[in-house]
């Protein structure tokens, strides 16, 4: 469930574009007005505003935005303004670059989006980067991570709800055999995780739990220092309980002295029109304080305001 709050009466895109222009030009920038508009419009409305802005002023809204604001506030607002498929294509590309490499971002994009959205990301990736997503992922990863990530970002998973219990039983057995034998990198584990539909995978992991007495993620915790095992557990979480996965990303981003603004921004921005409501529930359950309150302790100013708006504060 989404957290985004769109007002009951939304101005015409031309009117929103004019207000944004006004907020940008002249001395000083009206950050409040910018948040009030953009952080309270859905993806279609934002696309129409961007089009109206270019039509009226001959400039790209995002380019003008970059001249007026900066830092975490800019990154959050610019990422939010982008079309969701373009946003994911840009995030994925960034995640394959040496200095900003991040296998977890690729994992999220491969596992928590719908099959059709994911295909739109791959299409947009061609247009923006003149290459394919899987080509860059394969080129910039190696070994075990490549073996897992390339099929994850290349999958077009079936999304029907049908499940096959016989198959679930036999594949739960395969998973258990491999895990018991510590063959965590076995092709069969990768095959099952990267190709089966999410409902089928759920059925298999339920069988695993029922027949062998432990959730699979517990059996994959044999060595807490094994980074690949951590990645494998995250893969399973992304596929079966994305809101729990995202809760943990937020928890880790906020906790301790520093804040991981990139992770915080990414989860809030990509999930505000998707599962952020459920993620907030998970966060409260796990941490006993509301997510907004936790974020308030770690952020401030315009950046805090845009996150607040996306977390569901009325405009």
């Amino acid at each position: 469930m989404a957290t985004l709050k769109v007002p009951a009466i939304v101005p015409a895109p031309e009117e929103d574009a004019a207000q944004l222009r006004k907020a940008f030009v002249g001395l000083g920038t009206d950050e409040e007005a910018i948040v009030k508009i953009l952080a309270h419009r859905n993806a279609t409305q934002r696309r129409l505003i961007r089009e109206a802005y270019t039509a009226a002023y001959g400039q790209d809204l995002l380019k003008d935005m970059e001249k007026e604001i900066s830092g975490d506030f800019l990154r959050a607002l610019a990422m939010w303004t982008l079309d969701p498929a373009e946003r994911d294509a840009r995030l994925a590309n960034e995640a394959t670059k040496m200095l900003t490499a991040n296998n977890y971002v690729l994992l999220e994009i491969g596992c928590t989006r719908s099959s059709y959205h994911h295909f739109k990301v791959r299409e947009t990736y061609h247009l923006l980067h003149k290459k394919s997503l899987e080509e860059d992922v394969a080129h910039h990863t190696s070994g075990d991570y490549r073996k897992l990530l390339v099929p994850l970002v290349s999958a077009f998973r079936y999304e029907g709800g049908e499940t096959n219990l016989t198959l679930a039983k036999s594949e739960a057995k395969i998973l258990h055999e491999k895990i018991t034998g510590k063959a965590y990198r076995d092709d069969e584990i990768i095959r099952i995780l990267t190709t089966r539909s999410k409902p089928q995978l759920n059925a298999t992991l339920n069988q695993y739990n029922d027949v062998f007495g432990n959730p699979i993620t517990k059996d994959l915790k044999s060595d807490p220092n094994d980074e690949y095992l951590r990645f494998l557990r995250a893969t399973i979480k992304c596929l079966t309980s994305p809101e729990k996965y995202f809760e943990k990303v937020l928890r880790v981003a906020i906790k301790g002295a520093g804040t991981d603004e990139n992770a915080l921004t990414r989860v809030v921005v990509t999930q505000a029109e998707d599962s952020l409501h459920r993620i907030k529930e998970e966060y409260l359950k796990r941490n006993s304080i509301p997510l907004e309150q936790a974020i308030a302790g770690d952020t401030s100013g315009d950046y805090k305001n845009v996150l607040d708006a996306l977390l569901g504060k009325e405009g």
Copy 2:
């Protein structure tokens, strides 16, 4: 280039449907009329005829066809009548079944179709088989074949013409190192073949030839009995010279005492609206007899007539 011949004036789909109905019903079937219509209509026209047929007679054209004709003639005509993406989805599914398993069919579908057509095949696969293409391919293959085939059928290759010469040089070197070390199953060979755009792959293989003195397919012939090496060479041919690959499939299907009607039908039917013209040129060059003449020696009757029509004979 296509070989299909569509008449200058095409009857309305309703008229074609009525003529087909007439050819089916009553005593005896008018095979000649069926070929005259269906084997001289393009994919859009055939789709409209199927729709008009269902609208007028409340039956699926293909189901009625199955009642009236049989054998190789039926298979050729039914496969031809199908929408190209549906045809490929059905061929691919058949190729993952135990009794009709055929890795070469999967290879063709993964490598010789355009990226968008291939995605349509994956979409149609969901609808028809309630699973994903890559899921079935991964489940029904193993070892080296799985490692190569799953990414081939999951790829959404970039189709722009840009090539990067520096990359071509470095990847030609990687390929040569692996091949010289007989590491034919190395992940890097698979990565390059399964993810790079076809123009980029061409540039890389040209570099290979120029710098190391042999075409890569020659260096992959070290052991003529290694089935996997044969498959690797076929992969490269499918990606870089599909018409040469298909010429060979036809040559092998025709030569000797028996005929491989399935292969013959598959190549003619899937390529008649695509590259069959170029395949015929390759065939003549390599075998010194026209493909039509070679096929005439191996086929007869209605089956021969439908192949003739698809090979370019006027209706």
